[in-house]
C-alpha cells in the first residue's frame, strides 16, 4: 500500500475532534446542572447533594443518541489499535472493553437517580469522570501508535 502515512492525518485530527466532543459534552452536562448560575465547585456540590430531577422521557431523550454515538465512537477509535505495532492487542482489548462498559454505566447512571435508587449524584460524576479519563487514555494509546 502506497502512502499509508497519509492516513495518520485523519487519525490525528480524530483525536482532537474527540477531545472537543468530550469537552462540549461535559460542559453541556454541567450546564444542565446549573453551571450558568453558579461556579464550578458549587455545581459539583449541587450534583452530589441534589442532582436536577429528570423524567424518564428526558433520560431516554439523552440516552438514545448517546448509546449510538458513544458505541460508534469507541468502536472507531478502538479499531485503529489494530494497526498499532507499539501497543499489545491484549491491552487494546482490555481498554476497549472497559471503555464500552464504563460508557454504558455513564449513560445509565442518571436512571438510578431518576428512579430514586441513588439519592446523591456522585454516581453520575464518578461514571462521567471514569469515562472521560479512560477515553483520554485510549486516545493517548492511539496517538502513541501513530
Amino acid at each position: 500500500m502506497k502512502n499509508l502515512h497519509l492516513y495518520n492525518i485523519p487519525i490525528a485530527y480524530m483525536l482532537l475532534y474527540i477531545v472537543a466532543i468530550l469537552a462540549s459534552g461535559v460542559w453541556l452536562f454541567l450546564l444542565s446542572q446549573g453551571l450558568a448560575s453558579a461556579d464550578i465547585l458549587q455545581t459539583f456540590t449541587h450534583i452530589v447533594t441534589t442532582p436536577e430531577p429528570k423524567s424518564l422521557h428526558q433520560f431516554i431523550e439523552v440516552a438514545t443518541p448517546h448509546m449510538f454515538a458513544m458505541g460508534t465512537l469507541i468502536f472507531v477509535v478502538a479499531h485503529f489499535m489494530l494497526f498499532s505495532t507499539k501497543v499489545s492487542k491484549k491491552l487494546s482489548l482490555i481498554v476497549s472493553l472497559v471503555l464500552f462498559i464504563v460508557a454504558l454505566f455513564n449513560i445509565s447512571a442518571y436512571l438510578f437517580i431518576s428512579f430514586g435508587l441513588v439519592v446523591s449524584g456522585w454516581i453520575k460524576l464518578l461514571s462521567m469522570t471514569l469515562f472521560v479519563l479512560i477515553f483520554l487514555g485510549m486516545l493517548g494509546l492511539v496517538a502513541f501508535s501513530l
Partner: protein, 157 residues
C-alpha cells in the same frame, strides 16, 4: 477506514461501488447541512447576529447557551465522521498528488474550527460571526469538491 486501506480497488468492484455510494450520500449531506444551518442559525451576518445576540428592538431573545452548545456538540460529531470518510476515500484515490495532504489538513481544520468559532462568536462579537460564516461555507464547499473529485475518479475507473 481499515477496510478502505486493505482492499485494492483494481480487484474489488464491490468496494469501489460502496465508496461511490457513500461519497454520493455525503455530498448531499454537506449540501443539506448548509441548508439546515441556514434554517437553525441563519446564513448571513445579520440573521446570525440576531440568533446569537438577540435584537432588543424586535424583542428577540438571544439563543440559549445550552441550545448552542448542543448544536456545537452534534456538529462536531457529525463533522468528525463525515470528514473522516471523505478524507479517507480521497487519500485512497489521490494519494500520489502533492495537494492531497494539504487538502485533508484544510478540511479537518475547517471542520474543527467551524463549531468552535460559533461558540467564540457567542461570547465575543460580530466579527467572529463573519469568520464563522466564511469557515463554514469554505469547509462545506471543500468537502463537496473533494467528494465530487472522488466520485469522478471512482466512476471513471
Amino acid at each position: 477506514m481499515k477496510f478502505l486501506v486493505t482492499k485494492d480497488l483494481e480487484y474489488s468492484t464491490l468496494i469501489k461501488n460502496l465508496m461511490a455510494g457513500v461519497v454520493f450520500a455525503l455530498f448531499f449531506f454537506f449540501l443539506l447541512d448548509v441548508v439546515l444551518h441556514s434554517y437553525v442559525l441563519g446564513l448571513d451576518v445579520s440573521t446570525l447576529s440576531t440568533t446569537l445576540f438577540g435584537n432588543p428592538d424586535e424583542f428577540i431573545e438571544p439563543i440559549l447557551l445550552d441550545t448552542l452548545l448542543l448544536q456545537v456538540h452534534i456538529d462536531l460529531f457529525m463533522a468528525l465522521f463525515s470528514i473522516m470518510i471523505v478524507a479517507s476515500i480521497y487519500i485512497r484515490l489521490h494519494s500520489k498528488k502533492v495537494m492531497t495532504k494539504w487538502l485533508v489538513h484544510a478540511l479537518f481544520i475547517l471542520g474543527l474550527f467551524t463549531p468552535i468559532l460559533l461558540l467564540v462568536a457567542y461570547f465575543t462579537n460580530v466579527w467572529f460571526v463573519t469568520i464563522w460564516l466564511v469557515t463554514f461555507i469554505c469547509g462545506h464547499l471543500l468537502a463537496m469538491w473533494m467528494s465530487l473529485l472522488s466520485l469522478k475518479k471512482l466512476l471513471s475507473k
